[in-house]
């Protein structure tokens, strides 16, 4: 009997602290598998952010930073600029990246930092008990929108992938989802491409991963997958929004 699926070696074996059915664990695995396959564990440096994924640093078997809330892309910038041979990746949630950290992610992208940002979007602040996030869906009840998010008060969900894809410098911007095995398989390939983008010394790769939060959505893990499909996909279409088109004129020489 041949083992055809097992634990990526870039992740430790201990149990994860995430809630049952929370797909953070899957995103972690896709990142670890990509690091394994590209053989970059020994020069990878991850930056974990603040939120449910604050403990990311405990799960990856490579050098890790713990950044302050929203600032992971800046920490990664500082590290990459000083040791370009390292492979820098950030792992952030939507409260961290799409709220307090928007300035850092937009400018890291626009400068074309050669880092890879993994963004888990679960439409709420999970760690702190399910408050509204910039990515919360209109009408979605959260602990701070008891009557549901009202566009008139709270605006529409912030489409981070589209925003970054509209910039000229970033080389690879995509959005994937964890809501079905087929999507996870596609996501795995896209996460690997994002890391490969950095391995090839190209500017800025970003993957937004739609993720579940059964505890704060008040749904079962299985229902949460459906919720992504029904409620989130209309606001967060999947796919590779920006791909490197190779040499496209001089201004892209570093792309």
């Amino acid at each position: 009997m041949q083992k055809i699926f097992s634990h990526p070696c870039s992740m430790i074996e201990d149990p994860l602290h995430y809630c049952p059915g929370c797909t953070h664990g899957i995103i972690h695995r896709l990142v670890a598998e990509s690091i394994d396959e590209l053989g970059i564990r020994e020069r990878a440096v991850g930056v974990s952010s603040v939120g449910c994924s604050v403990c990311t640093y405990k799960y990856f078997r490579c050098d890790m930073f713990q950044a302050s809330h929203g600032r992971a892309p800046a920490v990664a910038t500082g590290a990459k600029r000083c040791r370009p041979e390292l492979i820098l990746f950030c792992y952030q949630g939507d409260g961290d990246l799409a709220a307090i950290g928007t300035s850092e992610i937009i400018h890291a992208a626009n400068r074309g930092e050669k880092i890879t940002c993994i963004f888990a979007n679960n439409a709420v602040y999970g760690m702190t008990g399910g408050q509204m996030a910039p990515t919360t869906i209109p009408g979605q009840r959260t602990s701070t929108t008891p009557a549901g998010r009202r566009v008139s008060q709270d605006g529409f969900p912030l489409p981070m992938a589209e925003m970054l894809a509209s910039l000229r410098t970033p080389g690879y911007v995509a959005r994937v989802s964890m809501h079905a095995p087929s999507e996870i398989i596609r996501a795995k390939e896209i996460v690997r491409r994002a890391f490969l983008h950095q391995v090839e010394d190209r500017c800025f790769s970003f993957v937004e991963c739609l993720s579940t939060c059964p505890t704060n959505w008040g749904l079962s893990p299985a229902e949460s997958l459906k919720w992504i499909e029904r409620e989130m996909l209309p606001y967060y279409p999947l796919g590779e929004l920006k791909v490197p088109d190779g040499k496209t004129g001089d201004e892209d020489e570093h792309n």
Partner: protein, 358 residues
């Protein structure tokens, strides 16, 4: 050693490069703009890199990343920018990362003014940000001393793995004075091979973090850090005195460029045989408390002179432990107490001293 006429800001930048700092992250803010500008010209010439950031908040986190991978790094800003960096400084202290931060002070609070000031003394030495930690603060009073203290800042930062602030009162950055750069044989980049994140080849993965969810571990960590601060206090505390060899009736206390105004006042009064001394802390934190107390003890009256509403005044009073009433002259907003202001106030004290003696 050739002497060069140089602007303070640029001299500080050149000193940092001579000290082996080849990476700078910064954001424009008056009155320190010449520092990032200088670095952006010079660093490419020496194989370094200048990065212009999107905000001081981002800057404080970028130097976190740079120091975290074991590279000598520096930033500079001015008062409002330093306020934005406060959270980052707490994280740098909490993760034991050696960095140098220059604060070329300007008038506050709020947007206030862009002229020189000393109104960040308390923020730098006591209330920088959340949590128990100390920021080592050095205050130069000349462009040459700014060069020397910049180099010293890197040495202290790396020796004790702490963030260090070079606190200039605006003028230091803007005035030009002749400087000499000491010949430095620059050692390997920051001796960080036992903790820096350089990729886990051949070793266990490492973590650079200020997060300690276990209270016992965090408590122990703070105690360990304060043992280092005590070492800094014992070994790195620095101060200067002027005209204190002989006896004096009045002691002036001042730091940065204000000390030079006081020295002029002392010289002027000395022509009339009036004996006035000056005590000038160079390390504002750790504050030279014992030396200050013994200088105060020899004086009949003490006058603190600052470009703020009385911030070092608190430390002078603490050092005096009630032995003297500490008088104070302060101007802010960009104004500077003048030699005449100091001389006039000293005369008031002298008259009082003579009245007591009769």
């Amino acid at each position: 050693m050739t002497r060069v006429l140089m602007k303070g800001n640029e001299a500080i930048a050149e000193a940092a490069i001579r000290a082996g700092c080849l990476h700078f992250f910064g954001y424009p803010i008056t009155p320190q703009n010449e520092i990032p500008e200088y670095f952006s010209r010079r660093l490419p010439q020496v194989g370094g890199e200048y990065v212009q950031t999107e905000s001081e908040v981002a800057t404080s986190n970028m130097i976190f990343g740079a120091a975290g991978v074991g590279v000598r790094v520096m930033t500079s800003s001015s008062s409002p920018g330093i306020s934005l960096m406060s959270e980052g400084i707490s994280y740098l202290a909490g993760a034991d990362l050696p960095v140098v931060i220059v604060n070329m002070m300007r008038a506050g609070p709020g947007l206030a003014g862009i002229l020189p000031s000393q109104s960040d003394y308390a923020h730098a030495t006591r209330g920088t940000a959340h949590g128990d930690f100390e920021l080592t603060v050095l205050a130069p009073s000349s462009v040459q001393e700014a060069v020397d203290l910049t180099i010293l800042s890197f040495q202290i930062a790396e020796r004790y793995r702490v963030p260090v602030m070079l606190l200039g009162d605006g003028m230091i950055g803007q005035m030009m004075e002749p400087v000499e750069f000491p010949e430095l044989e620059v050692g390997p980049p920051l001796a960080a091979d036992d903790w820096a994140l350089t990729g886990c080849r051949g070793r266990e993965p490492r973590l650079v973090s200020s997060l300690y969810l276990d209270p016992v571990e965090l408590n122990d960590k703070n105690y360990e850090r304060y043992r280092r601060y005590a070492l800094i206090r014992d070994k790195e505390t620095r101060f200067d005195t002027y005209n204190c060899d002989g006896p004096y009736d009045v002691l002036l206390t001042a730091f940065g460029v204000m000390a030079r105004v006081c020295m002029s006042a002392i010289d002027e009064l000395a022509k009339e045989g009036i004996r006035v001394g000056l005590f000038r802390p160079i390390t504002l934190n750790p504050f030279p408390e014992d030396a200050c107390r013994s200088a105060i003890a020899r004086a009949k009256r003490v006058l603190d002179v600052e470009m703020n509403m009385g911030q070092m005044l608190v430390d002078i009073r603490l050092a005096a432990r009630g032995s003297h009433d500490i008088d104070f002259i302060g101007k802010c907003g960009g104004l500077t107490p003048s030699v005449e202001d100091v001389v006039e106030r000293v005369r008031v004290h002298l008259a009082a001293i003579r009245a007591e003696e009769r």
